[in-house]
Symmetry: C2
Subunit: 121 residues, 2 copies
Amino acid sequence: MYICLMYSKELLKGTLKTIILKMLSESDSMYGYQITQKVKEITEGKINLTEGALYPALHKLEADGLLTTEKKTVGNRVRKYYSLTQTGNGRAKEKVEELKEFMETLKVIVNLTPQNLAWSN
Amino acid sequence: MYICLMYSKELLKGTLKTIILKMLSESDSMYGYQITQKVKEITEGKINLTEGALYPALHKLEADGLLTTEKKTVGNRVRKYYSLTQTGNGRAKEKVEELKEFMETLKVIVNLTPQNLAWSN
DNA sequence: AAATATACATAACTTTCTTATGTATTTGTT
DNA sequence: AACAAATACATAAGAAAGTTATGTATATTT
């Protein structure tokens, strides 16, 4: 069964890394699967990060020096915990700020009325 | 010279069609170049739609029956005016609503604190 | 015992944009 | 008058960033 409470997934494009960085900036460390579950939880199922996007993104962020990893064995299974580097912490703030500003700009468009569209030619 | 006041363009991905539909829903009709200029104007230069993205998107929306076109000759030059069909008008409202909801959900993430992240395990 | 959830990973493919290029007219500048 | 910049459209090659599918393996629930 495939229930999709999500938005048109196109919208999510471009926000994934920012979401990852923000999640990690509010936590000491998280592992991949945990990030997907936390995001699903706090967005009430509206954002479901797919593994095919998440893991490559985490690897990229690590390769870029924004994340470090530490493997922890729980039972018989290995979890890979990610945490922000100092650089990653700075980048997280930048990316979140950028996203906030972008949302403000989008607001201008979605709240557009014929009046404020027409005030100039 | 290439001044870029824009956000990381990734964020814009997935929002183009919604922006086009919203612009047209607040106007009788607009032509392509006019849309780019209006969007640039109302966002104070923060969103610059590129022609390489805009025109194919307009063609796609027309092919999908959401837009109709009317050519008007101004001087010696032909402008292609786009307007929403009835279907397009409905779709515009859906897409804008979807974008608004998505922005609300993103707000939950960007305003996240360790407290509301930690309330459940 | 079987199905579902947890946990990671990667490869093929698609979508959607960027960048570059092309054509042509109009307007502003020197 | 000549040239640059702006207006106005179009499309093609390539990049970026996802989705979908698949694989592996353990743990938990039914």
